[in-house]
């Protein structure tokens, strides 16, 4: 430990620069906000609270573009998670969180603690977490380090969720070289609650107690928040470790104890919030700021795992599995007893005070005395500079890539083995997707579906994002991310309700990156408005770079939808021989950013066709109506790999085959034109179905009882081997993982 610097030494030696605070910010804090020089602890608090990770100082102006209101919104952005009304006095709660940087350094614990953090966000709202989803983006499976990252990250996600007894029901996994040094690990948690149990993270009422519950505070994760916001260089080993270690067992106890408190003892409780990034400082000052209260904390009361921790370390520690409560004066003892019955410690560490100061005492000294709002609300917003990336300016001049002659059958089998398309069973099988017995559709279909017990309803959920499209055109790519998520829900029979997101980008000080961020958010926002759904929560992860090489701009969309009659959910699998096959939506030559292009060209290029949002949304609605009316036997939206892959996928794990004739070229079977679906319909329902779909449904064939795939395109006829296809698709990722690099 370095000896603590005096305020004057801090001013002269500027250690805050290394902590991420700029000189301009430091001067603003000392001259305008405090009227004096901040001491060591205070400077540390400012550095972490004013980091992008905690303050969103650069992304905030962009995030304002998202629609966040609507008739179902009970809680929009700003709390632990957003809440939507689903009728019957119930609500669905969800949020997504990124843990990219911690996972790049320590993949198992990084992924595990990411899951732990997002779960706490959900139960801090008073909701019972009912499902987890993830969104994983890795480099190509051709290096030992990537294999290690995949194994450990997947194990970390499963390790935490499985132990908590929260099913991991869906997600996405893609592979591109840009994620090699900086994998993306986004996790989403969905909760269910009675509206009467809704909680907020606020501390108010002079004299009320601030209570700390859960794990003890250690030195782990000090500067985690600023570390998450700092550019990423190759890691080094040290003797000490600041890596946070997750304890899902502790979190399970914490979950049950907090739910008992929020559901049964609302008269004791004023507010509750989890300690996430920047631990105790962010949770406590946010709780005070939201209620416009003052707060005084006694840091010696904070349960500590290690001796000799400084005030700075106690406040900034990111030890996991901790919550902060504001409890009505006089109820401290019953709260302690409640947590004690779960084997957990609950300790009064401070009080809500009159005024608006944030005061910390440690070992007899007042170590901090600053206005609450200076940490939370007075942050200097930073308007980024924006420049269209030069690659896009050049792309406009280049000829469009079109696949020329290729061997269709060979390409078909090869496409099924591309890891982004191939079966993810080797991953999803290590997640408990069924615990709590509500999972109607688990991993492997377009969206996951859960029933809501004691109602006739269900919830569908999905995570989607395609960095390639966003890289080629951030605005259109942003629209596509939202539309793809909506298509996955609609295919499952659900009406989209709202989204959460993780915005994964490079260094926002790079004007090209900032432009990408802004444009893609614009696209996402436009799609949300067209769908009339709000963005109710989200997370921004910037500085996703290794050695100055940024990832594809990768916004992840987590979307939740409502199924009114759970008996009418839909899956992608063919059900009966004799069912007619329909292709919905027109197919054009869209290969820019497609899996086909990536496979054949080893890189992506070109321009995306513009999207008519109105028409897209109308198309989604028609499909939804068809599913809701019970006219479909199976529905699959077309995404990576286009129609050819969707056809194959819908036969896998069935005894059925296909007889298909399409007015498309061989290449067009792999085109990724958005807004299309593959739907099978029982003969008796065909008339009603085609009438409902008007001219949009093109009859392309029939489901047959043999395991065969007969395909006639504009140019040729093919007999494809479905058993071989399925085997290649299933074995692709396990084989790559086993192969020696």
């Amino acid at each position: 430990m370095t000896k603590k610097l005096t305020p004057e030494q801090i001013q002269q030696q500027k250690p805050y620069l290394a902590w991420g605070l700029s000189e301009k910010e430091y001067d603003y804090i000392s001259q305008r906000l405090l009227g004096r020089l901040p001491n060591y602890t205070e400077t540390g608090l400012f550095a972490v609270m004013w980091s992008e990770h905690c303050s969103y100082k650069m992304s905030k102006p962009v995030l304002r573009e998202f629609p966040s209101t609507g008739k179902r919104v009970l809680q929009g952005p700003g709390e632990g998670a957003g809440i939507l009304d689903i009728g019957d006095q119930q609500a669905v709660v969800f949020k997504a969180e990124s843990h990219n940087h911690p996972s790049a350094v320590e993949p198992y614990e990084g992924a595990a603690t990411g899951v732990g953090g997002i779960i706490r966000d959900i139960f801090s709202m008073g909701a019972r977490p009912i499902a987890m989803l993830d969104s994983l983006h890795f480099g190509e499976i051709d290096q030992p380090r990537t294999k290690y990252l995949i194994n450990e990250i997947v194990a970390g996600i499963g390790g935490y969720g499985n132990c908590m007894g929260i099913p991991t029901v869906g997600g996405e996994t893609t592979f591109d070289p840009c994620y090699t040094g900086n994998p993306l690990v986004n996790a989403m948690c969905v909760g269910l609650m009675d509206q009467a149990d809704m909680q907020k993270g606020r501390a108010q009422g002079i004299g009320n107690a601030v209570m700390y519950v859960g794990a003890k505070t250690g030195r782990d994760g000090i500067h985690g928040a600023t570390f998450a916001s700092a550019d990423f260089a190759d890691d080094k080993e040290t003797q000490r470790s600041a890596v946070q270690v997750g304890d899902p067992f502790m979190e399970k106890l914490l979950l049950e104890a907090c739910l008992e408190l929020t559901h049964k003892h609302q008269d004791w409780l004023i507010g509750i919030q989890d300690m996430g990034a920047a631990g105790l400082v962010s949770s406590s000052c946010e709780m005070a700021a939201k209620a416009d209260s003052g707060m005084e904390l006694e840091l010696d009361q904070v349960p500590q795992r290690e001796p000799g921790m400084s005030a700075y370390e106690i406040m900034l520690s990111e030890s996991q599995e901790r919550m902060l409560l504001c409890i009505k004066k006089g109820f401290e003892k019953p709260v302690q007893d409640l947590f004690e019955s779960y084997g957990l410690e609950a300790v009064v560490i401070g009080r809500v005070t009159a005024g608006h100061q944030y005061i910390l005492h440690h070992q007899g000294n007042k170590v901090t005395d600053i206005p609450v709002s200076s940490l939370t609300d007075d942050v200097l917003e930073e308007q980024g500079t924006e420049v269209m990336p030069s690659r896009l300016q050049q792309a406009a001049l280049q000829p469009v890539w079109q696949p020329t002659e290729f061997d269709f059958a060979a390409t078909f089998y090869q496409m099924l083995q591309q890891p982004t398309i191939a079966a993810k069973t080797s991953i999803t099988q290590t997640y408990d997707s069924q615990v709590r017995t509500n999972t109607v559709v688990g991993p492997g279909s377009d969206a996951a579906v859960l029933r809501i017990r004691r109602t006739t309803k269900g919830l569908a959920m999905t995570t989607d994002g395609n960095g390639r499209f966003v890289y080629l055109n951030p605005e259109i790519g942003g629209k596509l991310a939202v539309l793809e998520a909506a298509a996955n829900l609609v295919a499952s029979g659900a009406e989209p309700l709202g989204i959460t997101d993780c915005l994964n980008y490079g260094d926002p000080h790079d004007p090209e990156v900032y432009w990408e961020l802004h444009q893609s958010v614009k696209g996402m926002a436009a799609a949300c408005r067209a769908l009339e759904i709000p963005v109710i929560s989200g997370n921004v992860s910037l500085y996703n770079e290794t050695n100055q090489q940024a990832i594809y701009p990768t916004p992840m969309v987590g979307m939740v939808g409502l199924i009114n009659d759970i008996q009418k959910y839909e899956t992608i699998k063919l059900k009966n021989a004799g069912d007619k096959l329909f292709l919905i939506g027109t197919t054009t030559d869209d290969y820019a950013g497609s899996e086909l292009q990536k496979m054949l060209q080893h890189e992506i290029s070109g321009q995306l066709a513009d999207i008519d949002l109105k028409q897209q949304v109308a198309g989604l609605q028609q499909v939804l109506h068809a599913v809701q009316a019970g006219l479909t036997s199976s529905v699959h939206d077309l995404s990576e790999g286009g129609l050819a892959i969707a056809l194959a996928e819908s036969t896998f794990a069935t005894d059925l085959g296909l007889q298909v004739t399409v007015p498309l070229t061989d290449a067009q079977l792999f085109s990724e034109t958005p807004g299309r679906f593959l739907i099978s319909v029982a003969p008796a329902k065909v008339a009603q179905f085609t009438e409902l779909m008007q001219d949009k449904a093109l009859l392309i064939g029939e489901v047959i009882p043999q395991k065969k795939f007969e395909l006639k395109t504009l140019t040729a006829t093919y007999q494809l081997d479905l058993l071989r296809a399925q085997k290649l698709w299933e074995d692709a990722i396990p084989c790559l993982m086993k192969s020696k690099a």
Partner: protein, 227 residues
């Protein structure tokens, strides 16, 4: 019939058992905390799956010292039905109510999927509604489900027909003799890695577990009728 569903710190399939019993089978059930020390008024005891004590040390190793365990031992000694699935099975072996032990899966990974099981013994209070030799499908979800016992114990298990369920097509974890579920000598304590409580509703795609609960109820009626 009244069934106790025992809840240990870290249990997480407790609700699954409870709902299978109450919502689906319409049987009276109650959660019983690991801190309780008696089971008066219950006709059967069920130990749920999950991660008692985080699976720290060994799965089930710490839970077996809970306050409730002597009551379960006594309950079993009286010949009353005791059932454990997944972590419940692990706890029953750690407590010595069932022989052998459950090791880490050979794959070293957690595995969640549906597997085929053969009903090897349908003469138990838990399996009388199945056909002998019948192959059923049940979900598994565990990281430590590889059954191990020494040769002598295995031979005795086989000789006494204590192997009730065996993996039928693929052995997902490395269990010796493909063992998925066993009873004690007397047949009133059953432990199994698969989760019958996850397979009791058509909506969730599988009802092969339902007859395990129905078996218990059928046994009850027979006994009551004989009074």
């Amino acid at each position: 019939m009244r069934v106790a569903v025992v809840v240990f710190p870290g249990s997480n399939c407790d609700i699954d058992l409870y709902e299978a019993l109450t919502s689906v089978c319409k049987v009276e059930a109650a959660y019983v905390s690991y801190q309780q020390d008696n089971l008066a008024g219950f006709d059967a005891v069920m130990l749920p799956g999950g991660f008692s004590y985080g699976d720290y040390l060994r799965c089930g190793a710490i839970a077996r010292f809970s306050n409730i365990m002597p009551a379960i031992q006594q309950f079993a000694a009286q010949g009353k039905p005791v059932f454990g699935t997944c972590n419940g099975f692990q706890i029953l072996t750690e407590a010595g109510l069932l022989p052998g032990a459950l090791k880490q899966n050979d794959s070293l990974k957690f595995v969640c999927k549906t597997v085929a099981l053969r009903v090897e013994n349908n003469q138990t209070v838990f399996t009388n509604q199945y056909q002998a030799g019948e192959v059923i499908q049940l979900p598994i979800a565990h990281a430590d489900g590889s059954y191990y016992a020494d040769q002598e114990t295995l031979a005795a298990l086989e000789a006494n027909h204590q192997v009730v369920f065996r993996y039928a097509t693929e052995n997902p974890n490395g269990s010796l003799n493909d063992i998925a579920g066993i009873t004690n000598r007397r047949g009133n304590v059953l432990g199994m890695m698969p989760h019958p409580e996850r397979a009791v509703e058509q909506l969730l795609g599988n009802t092969d577990g339902l007859r395990l609960f129905k078996s218990l109820l059928a046994g009850q009626t027979i006994k009551e009728a004989a009074h």
